[in-house]
Structure formats: structure tokens, C-alpha cells
């Protein structure tokens, strides 16, 4: 049993009044075989984590939400599928300071941000325990998981300023590898609370922005300089519309073309991590 439980129990109950003469006997041994009040095997669990902050980031900041479905194949092993959506991704404060004070932007490959995605992973609960709280017993499990999936990514082209909010360009769908650990508490007969730290890792360089490679972007830049972004002569996957028109603040999206071309031409690659703290509330069905 765990230390916390022992402390709580000792505080509540005080000393054991009954001396057990069998406690020290080498010829008798006891074990508790307690039916699980909350069996997991062959049950489905849905967990929502509405507000997940990224921790320890350098150039980007993410706030995301995720919904985790876990099928518990056994009491110890489950398979989780976790779609997530980044509802706010922006340049970190550090990166903004760099840009505004010394006009130094982070490398393009280091500035790519996750937008959404889905990961799947087996989940292992190697340690289980319980503690007493609020007059009851709470079961918990320490869990580990690791897996992979895909995620949509984007890069900031224009920072938020007087001309309007920041603009972003899609940098495509990438492989996302995930790993994490956490605690899962079981409440009542079907509710769970999870506190996990999860890393979403993705790699790559910026070779395309909104589907346009360097050649496409050069053509579009030339067209923009000439006065009109027609899109003629670019590859089929280049999303020309992303560089047309104006934002709600009146900012001309064509102005992003130069920045996009610069990012694509910059080259290089990086391993990016979005380490988040996931506080989730779940129900087991």
C-alpha cells in the first residue's frame, strides 16, 4: 500500500489495539484479494481535456484541447486514440521579444506549430494503488503510453500588429510521435480524473507553405509585385487563395508571400516538441 494512504489511515485510526500473534509467524501469511470495485477490463473510457497548456516551449506556445478514447483490453493494458485540436498556437513571448527588439526571427523549422491531429498509443498501467480521501477510498493507476499519429502544422507569417491579427500558412501534415505518463484516479463506479504529461513530437523542415514550394512562391511573389496574384503557372497543390484578398483588418494576404518564400528558402530542420499538461475528466462505459 502506498505511503499517503498509510499516513492518512494512521491519522484517522490511531494505533492498532489488537495485537496479532500470527503477524510474526513464518508459518502463516495473509493476502487481500479484493474484488475490484471499478474493473477496467473490456470497458471504454472517454476523457476530455479542455484546457491543455504547453510547458517548456522556446519559440511557440500552444493551448489545446483533446478527447481521449481508451479501450481497456485488460486491467493493465489499453489502447488509446486521441484526437486533439490546438485552439491557440502562437509565437512564444521569447520569440516575439527576439523579433521586436533585435529583429531576429526563430528559424523557420523551429517555428512550425501543431494545428490539430490524432495520435494512437497503447497504454500500460504498471502501478496501481489507492488512498483514502473524503471518507472514501480512491483508486489510482500510474500509466505510461507511447505511440504515433499525424498532425496538421502551420507557421506564422505575420505577427499580430496594428494591421491586424497574425496570419498563418499551412506547412502540411506530419508524423507525430507521442509519449507520456500520468495518474488516473477512479471515482465512484465510472468516473475518472487523469493528470498526464504528454509530449507530441514532430519533425521536418519548411519546404512548402500552403502547398506552395519555393518555385511556386517565387512565381506568386512576382505576380504580386506585378500587381495581381493570378496563380498561373504554379503547381496544382499550391493553395493560391491563401495569398489572395485581405484579412478582416485590411491586411493584404499577398504580403505574406515574401515571408513564406523566405521561410521555404531558409532550409534546415528541427525536432519540435509540444509538452502539455493534460487534466482530463472521464467516464467509463
Amino acid at each position: 500500500m502506498n505511503l499517503l494512504g498509510a499516513i492518512v489511515l494512521a491519522a484517522v485510526l490511531g494505533a492498532d489495539p489488537a495485537t496479532d500473534p500470527l503477524a510474526s509467524s513464518p508459518n502463516v501469511q495473509y493476502r487481500v484479494l479484493e474484488p475490484k470495485p471499478f474493473p477496467d477490463a473490456l470497458r471504454h473510457e472517454l476523457v476530455i481535456s479542455p484546457l491543455v497548456p504547453q510547458v517548456g516551449s522556446t519559440f511557440t506556445t500552444h493551448w489545446l484541447a483533446s478527447l481521449t478514447y481508451t479501450f481497456h483490453a485488460t486491467e493493465w493494458l489499453g489502447l488509446r486514440v486521441q484526437p486533439f485540436y490546438v485552439w491557440q498556437a502562437q509565437r512564444s513571448r521569447f520569440s516575439s521579444e527576439l523579433l521586436s527588439r533585435v529583429r531576429q526571427d526563430a528559424a523557420a523549422a523551429s517555428s512550425v506549430m501543431l494545428k490539430d491531429g490524432v495520435v494512437a498509443a497503447p497504454e500500460w498501467t504498471p502501478i496501481r494503488g489507492k488512498f483514502t480521501a473524503f471518507g472514501g477510498t480512491v483508486r489510482y493507476g500510474f500509466l505510461l503510453f507511447a505511440g504515433a499519429g499525424v498532425g496538421g502544422t502551420e507557421i506564422e507569417l505575420k505577427t499580430s500588429d496594428a494591421l491586424g491579427p497574425a496570419t498563418y500558412g499551412s506547412t502540411g501534415t506530419r508524423l507525430v510521435v507521442t509519449g507520456g505518463a500520468g495518474f488516473r484516479m477512479q471515482l465512484g463506479s465510472r468516473f475518472t480524473v487523469r493528470l498526464e504529461v504528454q509530449d507530441l513530437i514532430h519533425w521536418g523542415s519548411v519546404t512548402r507553405v500552403d502547398g506552395c514550394d519555393a518555385a511556386d512562391l517565387q512565381i506568386l511573389v512576382d505576380q504580386h509585385t506585378a500587381g495581381q496574384v493570378t496563380g498561373a503557372g504554379v503547381s496544382g497543390q499550391c493553395n493560391v487563395d491563401a495569398f489572395r484578398g485581405t484579412t478582416a483588418g485590411g491586411y493584404d494576404r499577398g504580403n505574406d508571400l515574401g515571408v513564406a518564400l523566405g521561410k521555404v528558402n531558409e532550409g534546415g530542420s528541427d525536432t519540435l516538441q509540444v509538452v502539455g499538461v493534460y487534466l482530463g475528466f472521464g467516464v467509463e462505459l
Binding site: L9, L13, G14, D20, Q29, R31, V32, L33, E34, K130
Partner: protein, 471 residues
């Protein structure tokens, strides 16, 4: 003047206590059953149910026009107070006193039946309890009591075990809610375990014991008793495991010395003589002084007030075992008696300065009777417990003697049991199924784990065939 009494009582009800007028109006003792009924009703209207028991019993005892109303008012007070001593005894002594309404007739039948069962009039109890219809709110209570009567070996014509089992199953099938219904179902579940054990159906008995709800008053008893069917069925580990739970500090308010005898018996059966002796020595050290104190109490017969104070005065309660005091106080009839005494005391406080007259006299009378009846119950249980403890300590002596004999036989056979046990590995602990949590037993007592322990033990007998047969 007396016709004004109910009105005064009602007015008193609206305030914090009875109006001073109540005492003034009731200075004259009632001379007729009708006057006694009127006084009783006035006291009830003033929310003095306890005090009303006195005049209402006077009115209900006398045949006449006031009798039926008096019995009904008496049963009303009994129900509100959950009184289990004075009114049942009165009804048993006055079978002619009958209420008018069908519902109250059923209540009267139940109370008479329970009283007859308690006093050993089993035939009468059976006939009274059978008259309560199955659709009655009191049917579960009556059927449980009937099952106990039917299974009683003293029953004229012998016990009818199958009929008793049927009654218990009917009680368990009743899904009624409420605290009383749950209590009756728990009692029925425990009784089922006992009857099935008596019928030597050990597996069913153990399963029945296991189903006694954990929050039931009788759960600690079921916890230790279910060691018996497990032991007889050869499940020594299961028996030791469940007996181990009875040491839990969470059960400190339970009085279960018999658990130690069964524990010692299981260990003796496995020729674990050192362990047997340890358990027996613990039993003797813990309960011999208590047995002597209880024997002295049983013999001396203290006054009623002293006897009640044994449970109500923390200083005096120390004379009892830490578990015995709470266990006695939780006995339904004793608990009802103590509750009535508290109610009467509270009524006396409410009456306060208003009471020079009949109200205080009625309170005094009822309080004295309640004190005596409660003390009788306590004394009866003390006598019973003293006798049971004496028996258990004698059993411990017998077991200790048998242990010595077993050790001597080993010496005669030139068997060094310490070496023998050291050479034998401890059989593996049961692992349980995938839906079981496994916890080590390391001195912590978790409430949710109580009752789920299992043990593994070595066999210290020189050869399996030499195992003493004590099952």
C-alpha cells in the same frame, strides 16, 4: 375542564414546550379509563409521547369504551418512539386490548409475536406472526421472526428448517427500501448463513454469510461466523483470512471473542502449536479478567440505575471490554430502552418548572419502568455474555491441553517440529482472478479490505494422515 386538555396540548405544541397550564390542568390523577385516555392524548398532543405511555396503558388495560382508542394511541406512541420494551410487554399481557384499524392490529400482532418469541412461547409466536398478511408493511419483519421461530430447536413438533429457509428467502426477495427494511434483510441474510451451516451446506452457508451487507449492524458477526463453513469445508486459508479481519481496529466496537477460539482451532488443526498457543494466550489474557468482572456483575445484580450507567457512563463503561460496551448498547432492545430513557429525560427538561402535577408523576412512573426494563435487558445480556465467555475460556483450556498433548506426541515420536516446519515451504498465496485486486497484508487496516483477506499456512503435522480431526 378535562375536555380542554387536548386543545391546551395543541397550543403547547406550537410553542417550545408544554404550556404551564398543562401542569395546572393535570394536577388531579385520572380516576377512570376515560380520564386516563384523555390525559394520555393530551400528553401526546404536547409531544410528550414517553409520558403518555403511563396513562394510556392504564386506559388500554381496562375493558370499556376507552380501550380501543387507548390501544391505538399507545401503538402510535410506540411507533414514533420505536419503543420495544414497555408496549410489547403490555400487549402481551393484555391480549384482549385490540386496536380498531387493520394497520394497527398488524402492528399489535407483530409486537405480541415478537414478545412471545422472546419469552419462549414459540407456538403462540408462530400463530401470531402467521396472521400478519404478506402485503403488510410489517410482513418482512414478521417473516424473519417466523423463520427464527420455525428453526428454533425448542419449537413444539421440532424445527422446520425448509419452511424457515423459505421465509428467509421471501424476506430477501423483498426489495423494499428504508433503513428498517435493509436491517431486516441483513438479519435474514445472516440467519440464512446460520441455518445453512446447521444443515451442513457449507458452500451455500459461506456464500450467504458473504452477502451480508458491509454496512449492516450484524456484518462483524457474519465476518467471523463465516469462518465456520470455510473451516468445515477444508478451506483453512479462507477461514483464517476472515478471522484475521476481526482484529481490524474498524471493528473495535464489536465483541467477537469466539473468533479467537475458531482461529486457534484452525491453527491446531494444522498442528501449528506455537501459533495456537499464542492465540489462546491472547484470548485468555484479554478476556479472563473481563469474564471475572462480568461474573461478579451477574452475581451481584446491581441496581437498575447502576446497570444502565454501565453503558451510559463512560467511566463505568470502562469496566466492560472496549468492544462489549458498544456491542451491548447496539443490541436493539437495549438501544430502544436507552433511547426511551433519553426521550423521557428530554421530556422532563421540556416540562421543566411547569410540572408539579400529574405530568411529572407520569414521567416518573414511566421512567422508573423504562429504567427497570432496560436494566433487565442489560443484565440478561451480561449474564449471557458471562456464561458464553466462561464457556469460551473453558474451550480455550481444552484446546490448550490438546495442544500440549500434540506437542508431547511429537516429542515422543522424536519429531523436531521447528525443523519440520522450516523444511516445508509456505504454500503459495492464492492469486485470485483478473477482477481481484491483490494487496499485501502488512499491518495496515483498510476498511474496504476487511473481509477479503485469505491466508496460506503450513501444515505442522508430521504426516498428513496424522492431522487431528476436529472439524
Amino acid at each position: 375542564m378535562r375536555r380542554l386538555l387536548p386543545l391546551v396540548g395543541l397550543l403547547a405544541c406550537a410553542s417550545r414546550g408544554p404550556a404551564p397550564d398543562l401542569a395546572a390542568l393535570s394536577r388531579v390523577p385520572p380516576r377512570t379509563p376515560a380520564e386516563a385516555l384523555e390525559l394520555g392524548q393530551s400528553l401526546q398532543a404536547a409531544r410528550l409521547d414517553g409520558a403518555s405511555l403511563g396513562p394510556l396503558r392504564t386506559a388500554a388495560a381496562a375493558p370499556g369504551p376507552a380501550q380501543e382508542a387507548a390501544v391505538e394511541a399507545l401503538l402510535g406512541a410506540q411507533s414514533r418512539l420505536d419503543e420495544q420494551l414497555l408496549v410489547p410487554a403490555f400487549l402481551a399481557a393484555h391480549p384482549e386490548a385490540q386496536p380498531g384499524s387493520a394497520e394497527l392490529r398488524e402492528r399489535a400482532l407483530l409486537l405480541r409475536g415478537l414478545e412471545a418469541q422472546r419469552t419462549g412461547a414459540l407456538e403462540l409466536a408462530e400463530s401470531l406472526l402467521r396472521r400478519i398478511p404478506p402485503q403488510s408493511n410489517l410482513a418482512a419483519r414478521a417473516r424473519y421472526a417466523l423463520a427464527i421461530v420455525l428453526s428454533d430447536p425448542r419449537r413444539p413438533g421440532g424445527p422446520r428448517m425448509q419452511a424457515a429457509l423459505d421465509e428467509l428467502q421471501a424476506v430477501l426477495a423483498d426489495g423494499g427500501g428504508g433503513r428498517d427494511a435493509r436491517e431486516i434483510r441483513a438479519l435474514a441474510q445472516l440467519a440464512l448463513g446460520r441455518l445453512l451451516y446447521g444443515l451442513r451446506d457449507d458452500a451455500a452457508s459461506a456464500a450467504a454469510y458473504d452477502r451480508v451487507p458491509r454496512d449492516a449492524r450484524v456484518w462483524p458477526e457474519s465476518l467471523f461466523e463465516r469462518g465456520y463453513p470455510r473451516f468445515r469445508a477444508g478451506d483453512d486459508g479462507g477461514a483464517l483470512g476472515t478471522l484475521h479481519a476481526t482484529r481490524a481496529p474498524q471493528l473495535r466496537d464489536s465483541f467477537l471473542p469466539e473468533a479467537r477460539i475458531l482461529e486457534a482451532t484452525v491453527l491446531f488443526h494444522a498442528c501449528l502449536y506455537r501459533e495456537t498457543r499464542g492465540v489462546l494466550d491472547g484470548l485468555t489474557a484479554g478476556y479472563r479478567p473481563l469474564s471475572e468482572r462480568l461474573a461478579a456483575l451477574a452475581e451481584r445484580r446491581p441496581s437498575s440505575a447502576e446497570e444502565v450507567a454501565l453503558l451510559t457512563d463512560p467511566g463505568r463503561r470502562a469496566a466492560l471490554d472496549p468492544g462489549l460496551g458498544p456491542a451491548l448498547a447496539a443490541e436493539p432492545r437495549i438501544a430502544a430502552g436507552l433511547r426511551l430513557l433519553r426521550t423521557l429525560e428530554a421530556e422532563r427538561t421540556r416540562v421543566g418548572a411547569a410540572g408539579e402535577g400529574e405530568v411529572l408523576q407520569q414521567l416518573d412512573r414511566v421512567q422508573e419502568e423504562a429504567l427497570q426494563a432496560t436494566a433487565q435487558e442489560i443484565h440478561a445480556r451480561i449474564v449471557e455474555t458471562a456464561a458464553a465467555l466462561r464457556d469460551l475460556l473453558e474451550q480455550a483450556d481444552v484446546l490448550r491441553f490438546e495442544t500440549t498433548r500434540g506437542e508431547t506426541e511429537l516429542l515422543d515420536a522424536d519429531v523436531d517440529q521447528r525443523k519440520l516446519l522450516a523444511a516445508r515451504p509456505l504454500p503459495p498465496l492464492p492469486t485470485g482472478g483478473p477482477a481481484d485486486e491483490r494487496w499485501r497484508v502488512d499491518g495496515e487496516w483498510w476498511a474496504d479490505e476487511i473481509g477479503h483477506a485469505r491466508a496460506t499456512l503450513k501444515n505442522g503435522c508430521p504426516a498428513p494422515q496424522a492431522t487431528p480431526s476436529v472439524r
